[in-house]
Structure formats: C-alpha cells, structure tokens
C-alpha cells in the first residue's frame, strides 16, 4: 500500500510533534522542583521502636528495657547535586517520636530531587551553634534539649527503664559535647529519588550500645550483627557528663542512621 503525500507529511509532522512534546515534558519533569521529605523511622535492631509499651532485650546483658522519650538533633543538611550543593538555612531539626505517628519527618521545599546525588547532615549541634545562645531552626536555649549556656545542648536524649529481674533501673542518656558532633554522608541512588520525594532513614538505637572497640577497629562496616559486642545497659545506665561514657555512646552515631 502506498502512502499518499499528505499522510506522509502528517506522519512526519506528528512524530516531530510527539518527540518535541516528550522532550519538553521530560525536561519539565526533570526541572520541576518539589518538596523533599526526610523521614526518620526509629528501630531497636530489627524491631520498630514503640515508646512505653514495648520492651526490648538489653543489647549487652540481662533484662529488658523500654523507652519513654527519644529526641535528637539533625542539623546542617547539605544536598549535593551534579553541579552544585545546597545548604539548608537555619538547619537545626529536632526529631522526636512521641507523636501519634511511627516516624518523624521534615520537609525541604523546592528541591530538584531528580538531580540529587548526595545528602549529608550532622547528628547534634555544630560547635559554633552549640557554644552560642541562638534561636535558629529548632534551637531553643529554653527547651528541654538545652542544658545551660555554659554546656550547650543535648544532641540526643534517650530516657527509659531497664527491668532487671525484680528491680527497675532508670535509663538516662543525655549525649552532648562538641566532640560528639557527627557528620553523616549518604549517596542517593536514582531509585530512592523516585519514592514520591521521600527519603526514608532508619535510626537504630542498638547502634548506640555497640562496644566502641569493635567499631574503632576499622572503618569497614561489620558484616554480621552477631560479630558486634554490645554495652550492658545495667553497667552504663546513665550517661551525661562523663566524657569517656559520652564518647562510648556517641561513637555509635557513625552507624546510627541508614537509608531504608
């Protein structure tokens, strides 16, 4: 069958139009900024953290613990794209898990998520802000996370109870100090970008109780969880100002948060 001249023209023109349309729409889609949601899901090992009602095994000893309050600061978010890096302004987010939801999140508006390559943030407050009386982002010197202006902020607050046979031991971990501030970097794979603009992170409380010696041995991630030795909570039930103890917990910040 022979095509008439007019059919040919229509076909060519139609193809051109379609191609142009696709090109424009893909460009449009790629360039369209949207809200980036950074979402945190708290866990104890493989189990989701449920405050108060759920008990978990003491990672390095006998007994079971429950958590009553868990809050931490995520700060200085940097988004790295192929050509540039964006640093969020007033980037101090208090992440807490006492709401009705199983996760906590914050949103960074107007981001070209498709172009995002890397994301980094700090656990805690950078030394400059930690040593100042600043009202920026979620920083509030009159908040529960502030000690006093001479000491700075608690980067992480974890409070609960360890039940050991008949006795109950209060658990108080208030982890601060400039030395504990930990920067984490994440590669953002294209398939992560596709999830409706949400990047899901797992926060694993057990990581705080890894024995520091094991972690410090090498920068290579341990392959099996069974290889890790854990702190017995009954032997370190409260950590506040003892630099050695603070370090023992804060070293876990390096492996504390991972992409889900």
């Amino acid at each position: 069958m022979m095509m008439t001249k007019s059919t040919k023209v229509t076909l060519v023109f139609g193809t051109l139009l379609l191609t142009a349309g696709l090109a424009i729409s893909s460009f449009w889609l790629r360039a369209l900024p949207q809200d980036l949601t950074i979402r945190f899901h708290p866990y104890v090992g493989d189990k989701p953290l449920v405050l108060n009602s759920q008990s978990y095994k003491n990672p390095g000893g006998d007994g079971e613990f429950s958590i009553r309050d868990f809050q931490l600061f995520i700060s200085n978010i940097a988004l790295e794209f192929s050509k540039k890096t964006i640093n969020e302004a007033e980037s101090y987010h208090l992440v807490r898990f006492d709401g009705d939801s199983t996760f906590d999140q914050f949103v960074i508006p107007n981001i070209k998520i498709q172009n995002l390559r890397k994301l980094s943030f700090g656990i805690g407050i950078d030394p400059k802000a930690n040593g100042a009386i600043l009202f920026s982002g979620d920083l509030d010197p009159n908040s529960r996370m502030a000690w006093n202006w001479q000491v700075g902020y608690k980067f992480l607050l974890l409070e609960g109870t360890l039940t050991l046979r008949e006795s109950q031991l209060p658990l108080v971990y208030h982890i601060g100090f400039d030395e504990s501030y930990t920067k984490l970097n994440f590669d953002i794979a294209p398939e992560i970008n596709a999830k409706n603009g949400v990047i899901n992170f797992k926060i694993d409380l057990r990581r705080l109780f890894q024995k520091s010696s094991k972690v410090a041995k090498s920068s290579i991630r341990l392959k099996s969880n069974e290889d890790i030795e854990y702190i017995d909570m009954s032997e370190m039930s409260h950590v506040k100002f003892s630099p050695v103890d603070v370090k023992a917990i804060a070293i876990g910040f390096h492996d504390f948060i991972s992409i889900l």
């Binding site: 009553r68 709401g99 509030d140 908040s143 506040k240």
Partner: protein
C-alpha cells in the same frame, strides 16, 4: 426611565452601605510596644488577636472588675494579686461558692513564652480559652456569659472600650482582652535578669545556687546539681514550650493517690500524674507551692526533692536517677544535697523576685488609679 431607576437604586445602595460601614467601622487600634530579654526567645501571639493598646486597656479593667462574677464580688484579681506575682497565697483558691478549688492559683507572668498549654493540667491551649473558664466555673465566678454581655452593654465605659478595641462586645472579645492584658505581664528585671545583662554580680551563695540549679548531678565527674534545669528552663525558668515537654511527674504521690494531671487532656496513661512545671519567677512570693499548694515554704519544696519523692509508674526517670552520691540502694530517691547547698539554691531562687514587676502601676487595678485621680 429604566436607566433612571437603576441609577437611583445604585445611589441608594451606595449611601446605605456607606452609612453601614461608617457606623460599624472599627476604630483605629495601636500595637503595644514592649521589650523583653533576647534570651526569652520567640514569643507566641495568636494571629486573630493582635496585641493592641486598646485591648490591653480593656483587658486590665475586666481583670480587676467583679462584674465578671454572678455576685459582683469576685474578679480575676481575687485569686491573682499583683503583690503576690498574681497568685493568692492560699493552698488552693476560693471563689464565689466558698468551696476550695482543686488547684493552687498560678502565677501570671511571661505568658507569651513557655508552654502553650494552660492550667496545671494543661487542659486548654490558649490564653483566650483559659480566660473564659473561671468566669463560667460554678465555684469560681459562676457567671452566665450572656448575662455578662448584657450588663457590659449597659455600661457606657465598657461600650466605649469594646468599640475601640474590637468593635463590639462578645464572649470572644472578652476573652481576647483578658488574654492580651495578661500577655503584657512581663517580668524581666529580677536580680537574675540584671546578672544576665551583666549589670550586677550575684553573691557567692547565690552563684553557688545558680550553678546547682543549672546542673543535673553526675557523680562520675564530681558534678553536684540540684537538677532544677531538667524541668525549668535556664532563662524563663518555666516548663519547656515544645509539645508536652513542660509537664512532669515530680514524685508528689504514689500510684494509689496519683491525680490525673495531663491525663485529663490527653487520655494517655503515661500522662497520669504529670503537671505543668510552673515558672519560678517571683517564686519567693508565690507560696504555697505545687499544684495543690501542699508545701508552705521553699524549704519544704527542697526537702521534697531531697528525700521526699514518692514512686509511681509515671515518675520521671530523671528524678529517680538524679543523685549527688553514687547510688547505693535504688529504693530511696533523693538528690542528697547538703544543707549548705539547699540554702544556696533557695538564695538563687530569691534572685528571681522582680520588685518592679510586683509594683508596676501598669499592671495594677485601674479602679484604684481612677479613685486616686479623684483625690
């Protein structure tokens, strides 16, 4: 003919609407100018109730006027006396019925900062909402709001003040005016404030107390602490503003006698027995203490934290854990402060008294001022 009718109709409508607008036009209002220490941080104001001079003027009059009560004898100031930092010196307040209320009168100070939940059990989330409760409460003022609005409409002074502030008299506007007057009750000139501004030094004893106030004890690093900072923020000295962080079970009762507290609002069992951590500003003049006024003196309060704590299932782990001697037994909870440290903390608490605030004429009864003017 038709056109003329339309023109006339438009003209009539225009004139009528102009008259209506003019009559109902709210008069110009002026925002209150105030200063507060930088360290107090961001303040909270509702968008629908700008802090105007006109609303504050009205709110001050309402606050001191017994017209708010059904027998015309009880005003807000009956239980909130300026000289006592807007408390009443009673264990629990007594209103129109003569029956003691469930709670101790709360000090009214620096209300734009700190927790956004009011009353000891946090049952309302705005000052506007709070203001109406005592007026309607059968034991407090027992006033029918509709009747109150009628009475206010029959009072030329109130008619004028409401018109200037809001345009008309309504329950909502009564609440807004009372809330705004209370927002102006800023105390920021205590010796502690002067110290923070670098104007004075504290005495050695007060400074020792300040350090203890600001520290959670840690025997591992020989840090002694009074643990006050765990519930009372460093500058405001109130409970914390975020979510329910400003509420705590501070060990007043055991499980058998634990009162509902914040549970009243949230229905969350973990909130049973949690009460609002109050501001400690002017604390030396606001005895007796705690939500039920059970402690008559600051010495009794310190004695409570130093060995009087009762265990219950929602007791703060921070209170159980805070100890100035390494734990030898876990069943007795005490800060284990020595007498010298206790007197130091009390000395520091006295630096929170703001004499200028307690005597500031802008906060006093406008009726007294009117009478004085007549002299």
């Amino acid at each position: 003919m038709k056109i003329a009718t339309i023109v006339v109709a438009i003209a009539v409508l225009f004139i009528a609407s102009t008259i209506y607008t003019q009559q109902n036009k709210k008069l110009d209002t002026h925002l209150v100018e105030f200063t507060a220490p930088f360290v107090f941080g961001r303040f909270n104001l509702p968008e629908n109730n700008p802090l105007t001079q006109e609303s504050v003027l009205l709110g001050r009059r309402l606050f001191y006027d017994p017209i708010l009560s059904s027998n015309n004898q009880v005003s807000c100031a009956t239980c909130h006396k300026q000289a006592l930092a807007f408390t009443d010196g009673l264990k629990t307040s007594v209103g129109i019925s003569g029956n003691p209320l469930a709670f101790n009168s709360m000090s009214l100070v620096n209300l734009m900062w700190g927790p956004r939940h009011f009353f000891w059990d946090g049952r309302v989330s705005s000052l506007e909402e709070q203001a109406i409760h005592p007026i309607a409460h059968v034991d407090e003022m027992a006033r029918n709001i509709e009747e109150l609005i009628v009475d206010l409409n029959n009072d030329e002074t109130y008619k004028k003040l409401f018109k200037q502030a809001f345009g008309n008299i309504s329950e909502q506007n009564i609440a807004k005016a009372l809330a705004n007057f209370q927002r102006t009750l800023i105390s920021a000139n205590s010796r502690y404030d002067q110290y923070l501004r670098g104007e004075i030094s504290l005495t050695a004893k007060e400074e020792q107390g300040r350090k203890l106030f600001m520290a959670h004890p840690d025997t591992k690093v020989v840090l002694r602490g009074g643990n006050c900072i765990d519930c009372h923020s460093q500058f405001l000295t109130s409970g914390f503003g975020t979510a329910f962080d400003g509420f705590s079970n501070n060990g007043l009762d055991d499980d058998q006698t634990l009162q509902p507290g914040l549970f009243t609002l949230t229905n969350n069992e973990m909130h049973r027995g949690l009460f609002k951590a109050p501001t400690l500003r002017n604390i030396a003049v606001t005895s007796p203490y705690m939500h039920d006024g059970r402690f008559a003196t600051l010495q009794e309060v310190l004695a409570h934290y130093n060995g009087g704590i009762k265990r219950s299932k929602t007791l703060s782990p921070l209170i159980i854990e805070a100890d100035n001697i390494a734990k030898t037994q876990s069943d007795h909870i005490s800060l284990n402060l020595n007498d010298n440290e206790i007197t130091a903390i009390i000395a520091f608490l006295h630096t929170l008294t703001d004499e200028k605030f307690l005597a500031n004429r802008a906060f006093s009864s406008p009726f007294m001022a009117e009478n004085n003017d007549d002299d």
